[in-house]
């Protein structure tokens, strides 16, 4: 075999290998998507979470490094939320117990980050979040850090106050009018799965279906 033929064969094999590899890793996870019941793949290799630094409920730093080397199921909450957030946290607890029932070997981390760090201090979150499951981690920190963090998730929130019987919306980042203490927060309530590279991998819209989500999580973890 001439050197030229050998080179061609090697190049051909290399191209074949690369194409097979890219089909297998399937950067868009097309095959995986078809099998999922309650999830949207949000994996975008070119879009990374920027660096952030928050504080967990034990006053330990919670940053990108805390999302590395393990899967994480994450949501955003606030504790002055009587309906949607307790439901989301209960759903997370239910997903966790279903993952245990399914015999999942390495459990993801479970994280709830507050939209409302002014009222939800680490101490408040420690009591609140751990009520739903002792392993849940509550995360607070600077509002500006949280506002930056939520963007790539596509998560949205706005505060809502009552002025003379009318509901007024205060956009994300703006100050509350002076003297206003009571406000509620309108917000999206997806759960998110982050892969061990610390990046957003999938999202679960409302209403959450714990059983189907747990099955999807097992599938994603095995086919990642």
């Amino acid at each position: 075999m001439s050197k030229l033929t050998l080179s061609i064969v090697i190049i051909f094999i290399a191209i074949l290998g690369i194409s097979v590899y890219s089909v297998n890793t399937d950067s868009n996870y097309g095959d995986l998507k078809k099998q999922l019941k309650a999830s949207h793949i949000l994996h975008k290799p070119d879009k990374k979470l920027h660096n952030f630094s928050l504080v967990d409920h034990n006053n330990e730093v919670f940053n990108n490094a805390r999302l590395q080397d393990q899967w994480t199921l994450l949501t955003f909450i606030y504790t002055h939320c009587p309906d949607v957030c307790p439901t989301a946290l209960m759903d997370m607890a239910s997903i966790k117990s279903k993952l245990i029932d399914n015999g999942l070997e390495s459990m993801p981390g479970f994280v709830a980050i507050t939209f409302d760090p002014k009222r939800d201090t680490p101490k408040v979150l420690k009591t609140y979040v751990r009520y739903f499951d002792k392993d849940f981690i509550g995360v607070s920190g600077e509002q500006s850090q949280i506002d930056k963090l939520i963007k790539p998730f596509g998560t949205y929130y706005e505060r809502s106050i009552e002025v003379d019987g009318n509901t007024v919306t205060i956009p994300n980042g703006a100050e509350l009018p002076k003297g206003v203490k009571n406000y509620s927060i309108n917000h999206t309530a997806w759960l998110y799965l982050l892969s061990p590279d610390g990046q957003i991998f999938a999202g679960f819209p409302t209403p959450h279906k714990p059983k189907a989500i747990a099955q999807d999580i097992s599938l994603m973890m095995s086919q990642y």
Partner: protein, 167 residues
């Protein structure tokens, strides 16, 4: 034969009379107190963390009358405020919207459940524990009110599920 018929007839008249007397009595009562036509089923408070600033209350309100009804307020001792709310989704954003009243249409029912209509207990003196009972006074637009005993329990189970889990 005639005697038997006569007895049966008399008995029937008697029973009919008794029945209508009972119905009248019933009617009389319900006119004084419309609560009998507004029936509250399985009221419950969602168990919450010890520092929860807000609690959700859920139930089913049946309106067995031919008139539309409105729940106009709820009160409970030990809370700063009690409000009527509804969670609504708008383009994926969950909004909690305070309501002036909850409508219960004639011969219909309203389900208060997570993610939908709910009563909000705001600023508890102490968060009730699972199994505790919270007394809540509901006032309707016809001037009647009733006190319900809402049990504190976990879960967002629907009534159906709750029924099947009932021991």
């Amino acid at each position: 034969m005639f005697k038997t018929m006569k007895t049966t007839l008399l008995l029937s008249i008697f029973l009919l009379g008794a029945k209508s007397a009972f119905a009248m009595h019933h009617q009389h009562n319900s006119e004084q107190n419309h609560d009998e036509k507004l029936i509250i089923n399985e009221p419950w408070v969602r168990a919450a963390p010890a520092n929860a600033p807000m609690l959700g209350v859920f139930m089913q309100i049946q309106n067995h009358s031919n008139n539309d009804a409105k729940l106009i307020s709820a009160d409970a001792a030990g809370y700063q405020r009690v409000e009527l709310h509804r969670t609504m989704e708008h383009h994926g954003v969950m909004k909690m919207i305070k309501q002036d009243f909850m409508p219960i249409a004639a011969n219909n029912q309203l389900n208060l459940k997570p993610g939908s209509w709910h009563i909000m207990l705001i600023g508890p003196d102490a968060v009730p524990a699972e199994g505790d009972v919270v007394n809540i006074k509901l006032t309707f637009n016809n001037g009647t009110s009733q006190i319900i005993n809402a049990v504190v329990r976990k879960g967002k189970m629907t009534m159906k599920h709750h029924g099947s889990h009932h021991h």
